[in-house]
Structures are given as structure tokens and as C-alpha cells.
Amino acid sequence: MGGRFGDGAVIPEAEGVLFKQDWHRRALALTLAGGTLGLWNLDISRHAREKLAPTDYARFAYYEKWISALADLLVETGALSAEELATGRAAGPATVDVNVLRAADVAGVLARGGPANRDSGPVAKFKPGDRVQVRARAENVTVDGGHTRLPAYLAGATGIIQRHHGTHVLPDSNAHRLGEAPEPLYAVAFAAGDLWAHPEHAGDQVVADLWQSYLSPA
């Protein structure tokens, strides 16, 4: 969606506004609690939102995407059956092996988070200052139609390595349960004039975090 035309104004919002509707609270909490069951990882859950039909992705409210993707994942992993979703009645206790988040553990789980860096992986091929070219198509090269974190607006662009973040889990693999496949991750800087036909300002830049396999020397 980065770079898309036709969207309207950005509407600022006061700092105290957190949830506009009560169901937003529940959707957030349910999604976070669902994420701790141990049935999927963060990349799988992002992909589940992206896999919503394009028309649903466009028309659903933010937390509606979350809750819909959550329902899809619960059925996909066998935690719920389609019948249970359709009837709204549990056919019995869950039969999948899960960790159920308890109130007393919430603070610890949130504080721990889920670091994505790993100790080992391929050797870094690039260093800050190197010129790199991004893969020509923003597609998952392993799984047809699969998850990728390469934004379409950067496909084929040339940039400069700005920072080496260390070695991070590759979402293109992890979202499909194909292993973490950690790789060097870099912040790559692109000149606005190399990305857009009508850049606002010659000196402006976009920086994105890109995995080593998305890049080749330029």
C-alpha cells in the first residue's frame, strides 16, 4: 500500500483516545492472548491478515481484520472447528496442545516479547555504505503467493546500506512453518527521487529494513 494514490487526508487524534469502541478492546486482547497459545508465530499471524480477500482487507476495520484472521488461524490449527464457529457453541474442550495465558503471567509475557534476532546465520555480505539493488518483484521466492516483508514500492530500487541490525528470522520462511531461516537484516536508505516520479524534495529518503536475500550488490 506504500505509495498508493487516492487515499484521503490523515486525521490527527488526541493522545488519550485508545479504543473507539468497546469491541476493539476485546479484539486486541483476544488476538494477543491467541498469539500466546503456541499454535502460530507472529509471521503466520501477519500473513493470515494479508490473506484476507482483497475486498475484505479494503473494507474491514482494523480490528476486524485482526479478529477475522484470528478466527481463520484457530480453525486452521484445529483449535476450533468450522462447526463451532458457525454455531457459536463449543463442541467440547480444546484438544490441541496449548499454553493458556493466565492473568498473572500477562505482565511477564508482554515484557519478554518475542525477539526476532538469532545468534547464527549466513555471513553478512554488505556493510554500511554499500550500494544494493532490491529484488525485482515483491514476491515470496519459495512459496507461490506467500508472505514477504518486501514492500512493492521498493521492488527493483537501488539504495545504500545504512545499518546492519544483526541476524533476524526471515518472515518469508517462518510464516509458512518452513523454519526461521535467520539472515542478516539491514536498514537500507533510498532517495525519494529513486522511488517516485514526483518526489517532494530532492534530499528526502525512505529507509526500510530488508533481509539479505532481498538484496544484491548494485
Binding site: 457459536g88 515484557a111 516483508r149 541490525h165 529507509v207 526500510a208
Partner: protein
């Protein structure tokens, strides 16, 4: 309607009204023993009352007040923030980027809505909007204008698209006329939007 693919997804079996959808799913998950309602309340309470932009504001105020802290923060934010208890979910890998006379930083997630939760709480509606996600990378100055921010031509804009698990916090410029203020007073000046790069910190 163009052909709608949503029927193929299990979620289409839920009520179509979002509030009912959430309620149906919560009821089911609790009945199945997969979710503890008290844990849901605890999560909500955490983000409504404990984790929010005042965390980030305290960090900014200290960085303005203490040059050693500022240097350490810019060098290794994870180490510094973990020491302050401002680390965790959606902020496991933090990078703090500093605004200067020559450079204004701004943060977006074009792919979804990645945001430094331990420092800023849950993202505002606009940060998650199609409009911000689409436009921040292509026309950041027009977006800034909608926040009432106008930057000189001599200041470049660098937009950080949060495409991985690294989260960015903007260290805004300290306003002039705040020399005598202590950290608490400074923190009160720091807005959430200024730490996303969609606002400037105004003099008191």
C-alpha cells in the same frame, strides 16, 4: 459486487457485525478453555493504564537532559530501555533516531502497523489508516502539513518504514527556552506524535 472471495475463509462463518464477531469468538474460546477472561482484562488494563506514550516521553526528556544517556540511547537503545523496564512486545529491537536542524525523522509501517508499543502504547487510528500507510513514504511533507508541521527546505525528511521487527522512536529536537526545566517538566512537553515524527515539540 465483484466476486468476493471471503466465503472461502472460516471467519465468514462468524456474524458479520464486528462487535458480534468478537463476542462470538471470545465466548467460544473461553468455553473451550483456550482463553482466560481475566488475562484479557489484564491485557486491556495494561495498554489502557500502564503502557503508553508517557514512557517514551520520559526517555526523550532524559536524553535531552543527560548527554551520556543520550549517547548510550542512540548507540544501543535495547540495552538502555531494558534497564528502564521499557522493553518487550513490539519493542524487542529498538532504534532511536535523532532529529536535527538538517534531518527530520518520521516512522511508518506501510505493510501493517508496526509501532514501538512499550514506549508509545497502542498506535493511534491514523497510524493504522490506509492514508498514512500509503502516503507517509511518498509525500511525508504533505502528511506533516496535515499535522500542522511545516519543515524548511534545508531539513531533509527521512521516513523509516518498519518492515521488520526493529521499531523506531524519534528523538525530537528540544525546543528553545527549556534550558532550566527538569526531566518531568520536559517530559510533559513531549507529545506522542513528536516521537513518531508527525509533530514537533513546542516551547512551553
Amino acid at each position: 459486487m465483484p466476486h468476493d472471495h471471503s466465503d472461502d475463509h472460516p471467519h465468514a462463518l462468524l456474524p458479520s457485525e464486528p462487535a458480534l464477531k468478537v463476542q462470538a469468538l471470545e465466548t467460544l474460546l473461553v468455553e473451550k478453555g483456550l482463553v482466560d477472561p481475566a488475562a484479557l482484562d489484564e491485557i486491556i488494563d495494561t495498554y489502557e493504564h500502564r503502557i503508553g506514550p508517557r514512557g517514551g516521553a520520559a526517555v526523550v526528556a532524559r536524553a535531552w537532559s543527560d548527554l551520556g544517556f543520550r549517547a548510550a540511547l542512540l548507540d544501543d537503545a535495547d540495552l538502555v530501555l531494558a534497564g528502564m523496564g521499557l522493553h518487550g512486545r513490539q519493542g524487542e529491537h529498538m532504534v532511536v533516531v535523532e532529529n536535527t536542524e538538517a534531518l527530520h525523522n518520521m516512522v511508518v509501517c506501510t505493510l501493517c502497523s508496526c509501532y514501538p508499543w512499550p514506549l508509545l502504547g497502542i498506535p493511534p487510528t491514523w497510524y493504522k489508516s490506509d492514508a498514512y500507510r500509503a502516503r507517509a513514504v511518498r509525500e511525508p511533507r504533505k502528511v506533516l502539513a496535515e499535522f500542522g508541521v511545516s519543515l524548511p527546505d534545508t531539513q531533509a525528511v527521512r521516513v523509516w518504514d518498519s518492515t521488520a521487527e526493529v521499531r523506531y522512536l524519534v528523538l525530537p529536537q528540544r525546543p528553545v527556552g527549556t534550558e532550566g526545566m527538569d526531566e518531568a517538566a520536559l517530559a510533559a512537553l513531549v507529545t506522542r506524535d513528536s516521537m513518531i515524527g508527525c509533530g514537533l515539540v513546542a516551547a512551553p
